[in-house]
C-alpha cells in the first residue's frame, strides 16, 4: 500500500513537472472561474525572480484578508498604470481580472532572505473587487490581537504567533485599536491608497512575518503568502471562509 501511494505521488508530480517544462500553466479552480499562476512566476520577466517551486502553505487555514470575493492578486508596479507597467489607468479593467499572479519577491530594495535575489517585495499586493477607494473591507485573517497601528499600517498578531501586516488602509476607516483582541473575519479597515501623507495606488499590501528555527538559530522573516492566500481564497469562494 505504502509503495503504491509513493508511486502514485511520483507519477502525479512527474506529470506536473512535465507540464511545467512546457510552459507555466494556469491553475484552474472549478466552480467560480478562479484561475491563478503557480507561486513564484512573476511577470514581466524583468520584474524580479520569484520563489518558484515553494508551494508550501506557510500560514495554513487563514481567512482571506478581504471580506468579499472577487479579489485580484497581481503587480501594482508592473501592472497597467503602474510605475513600470504599460501606460493606462490603474483602474483599467484588465487589472481586475483572473488569473492571479504572485508578486512576492518582485523587484524592490528591501532585504529579503527568502527571495532568490536576497531583496524583493515583502508581501503581495491585492486589488479588491473594483477600483473604488475606501469601500472594500480588509478583515482579520485569524483570531489575535492588534499590536500596532502606524501612519498607514496595521499589524495583527495571530494566536499562531504569526504577524500579519495590512498596508494602505484608509486611516479614518480603521475599526480596531492597539491592544484590541479581534476574531477571525472581523473588519479592520477599508482598502485605500494611504501611504501616510503621500499616496500609492488603491490596494492592500498584505504580508506575513514569522519566526523560523533553523537548528539552534532562529530568524523572523517575511514568508511567501501567495499559496496561503490561494488556499484561503478557495475557501472564501466555497462560502466557508
Amino acid at each position: 500500500m505504502r509503495y503504491f501511494l509513493i508511486a502514485l505521488i511520483a507519477i502525479g508530480l512527474t506529470a506536473c513537472a512535465t507540464k511545467d517544462n512546457k510552459k507555466v500553466e494556469q491553475q484552474t479552480w472549478k466552480g467560480k472561474g478562479f484561475t491563478y499562476y503557480p507561486a513564484g512566476y512573476l511577470k514581466p520577466s524583468n520584474s524580479g525572480r520569484g520563489r518558484r517551486g515553494d508551494n508550501y502553505i506557510y500560514a495554513p487555514n487563514i481567512r482571506f484578508p478581504l471580506a468579499y470575493a472577487p479579489a485580484y492578486i497581481n503587480s501594482q508596479v508592473y501592472g497597467i498604470g503602474g510605475q513600470f507597467g504599460p501606460r493606462g489607468s490603474l483602474c483599467d479593467q484588465r487589472n481586475y481580472k483572473y488569473p492571479w499572479r504572485d508578486n512576492y519577491c518582485e523587484k524592490r530594495t528591501r532585504g529579503m532572505p527568502l527571495c532568490p535575489a536576497g531583496v524583493g517585495h515583502q508581501g503581495v499586493d491585492i486589488r479588491a473587487k473594483d477600483c473604488r477607494d475606501n469601500t472594500h473591507y480588509a478583515v482579520a485573517v485569524e483570531e489575535g490581537v492588534i499590536t500596532y497601528i502606524g501612519s498607514y499600517s496595521v499589524k495583527l498578531r495571530g494566536t499562531s504567533g504569526r504577524t500579519y501586516r495590512y498596508l494602505h488602509l484608509n486611516s479614518h476607516s480603521i475599526q480596531v485599536r492597539r491592544g484590541q483582541r479581534v476574531w477571525r473575519g472581523q473588519k479592520i479597515g477599508r482598502v485605500s491608497d494611504n501611504m501616510g501623507k503621500t499616496k500609492t495606488s488603491i490596494h492592500l499590501h498584505f504580508d506575513i512575518k514569522q519566526t523560523i528555527r533553523f537548528g539552534n538559530y532562529s530568524k523572523s522573516v517575511y514568508v511567501p503568502p501567495y499559496t496561503s492566500l490561494v488556499d484561503a481564497y478557495k475557501r472564501l469562494l466555497r462560502g466557508r471562509p
Binding site: 508530480l13 512527474t14 506536473c16 513537472a17 511545467d20 517544462n21 518558484r52 517551486g53 515553494d54 508551494n55 508550501y56 506557510y58 495554513p60 530594495t109 528591501r110 532585504g111 532572505p113 527568502l114 515583502q122 508581501g123 490581537v145 492588534i146 499590536t147 500596532y148 497601528i149 502606524g150 501612519s151 498607514y152 499600517s153 499589524k155 498578531r157 499562531s160 504567533g161 504569526r162 498596508l167 492597539r178 491592544g179 501611504m195 501616510g196 501623507k197 503621500t198 499590501h205 504580508d207 514569522q210 519566526t211 523560523i212 528555527r213 533553523f214 537548528g215 538559530y217 532562529s218 530568524k219 523572523s220 514568508v223
Partner: protein, 170 residues
C-alpha cells in the same frame, strides 16, 4: 524536473512544528531593572507577565503615552512621535522548524550580523537576536519619502544604541 526536486525537497524539510525558543538570560542589571524613578505604570503593568527580556529605547522609557501589547511570549511597545511611530517588539515563539540539511535554507538562514537594518514598505527596521529572542525596532513616518528618520538609518541606529532592558522575568 528541477521544479519537482525543489518542491519535494522543500516539503520534506519544512516542519510546521511551532514552539518556544530557549532564552539565555542576561545577568540582571539592577540599575536598569530598578531605576531611581519608577517606570510608568502602563509599562510595568503591561509587561508584568512577559517572560522574555524587555528592551526599549531609553529616551522613551518614561513616555506615559506608550502603548504596550504583551503576553507571556511576546511584546510590542509603540511610541507616537511628531509625524512618526516607533515600535519595538520581542518574540520568543517560532512557527516553523527547518532541518539543517536543507541547503536552500542554509544559504538564506545563515546567522545574520548582530543587527540588520532594513528598508521596508515605507518604513525602516532594525532586526536583531539577543539572548535567543528575535527583536524588531522600527519607525514608520507620515511622509516616508521626505522624513530623514525613515529615509536614512541614523535615527534608528541611535535608538538601537540606547536600548535598555526594562523588565521581563524568567
Amino acid at each position: 524536473m528541477r521544479l519537482l526536486l525543489t518542491t519535494l525537497f522543500l516539503l520534506s524539510s519544512l516542519n510546521a512544528d511551532s514552539g518556544i525558543l530557549d532564552i539565555k538570560w542576561p545577568k540582571p542589571n539592577l540599575q536598569q531593572q530598578k531605576p531611581s524613578t519608577p517606570y510608568p505604570t502602563v509599562l510595568t503593568k503591561g509587561i508584568k507577565n512577559t517572560k522574555l527580556p524587555i528592551y526599549i529605547p531609553s529616551s522613551f522609557a518614561y513616555d506615559e503615552k506608550m502603548v504596550v501589547v504583551a503576553d507571556k511570549n511576546f511584546y510590542t511597545i509603540s511610541f507616537l512621535l511628531q509625524g512618526a511611530t516607533v515600535m519595538v517588539s520581542g518574540d520568543r515563539t517560532f512557527q516553523q522548524s527547518i532541518s539543517t540539511s536543507n541547503s536552500d535554507f542554509q544559504k538564506m538562514m545563515k546567522p545574520s550580523p548582530t543587527i540588520e537594518f532594513m528598508e521596508e514598505e515605507g518604513m525602516r527596521s532594525a532586526n536583531f537576536n539577543r539572548h535567543g529572542v528575535n527583536y524588531e525596532l522600527s519607525i514608520e513616518c507620515d511622509k516616508p519619502k521626505e522624513d530623514a528618520r525613515c529615509k536614512e538609518e541614523d535615527f534608528l541606529r541611535k535608538l538601537y544604541s540606547k536600548l535598555i532592558m526594562v523588565g521581563g522575568r524568567p
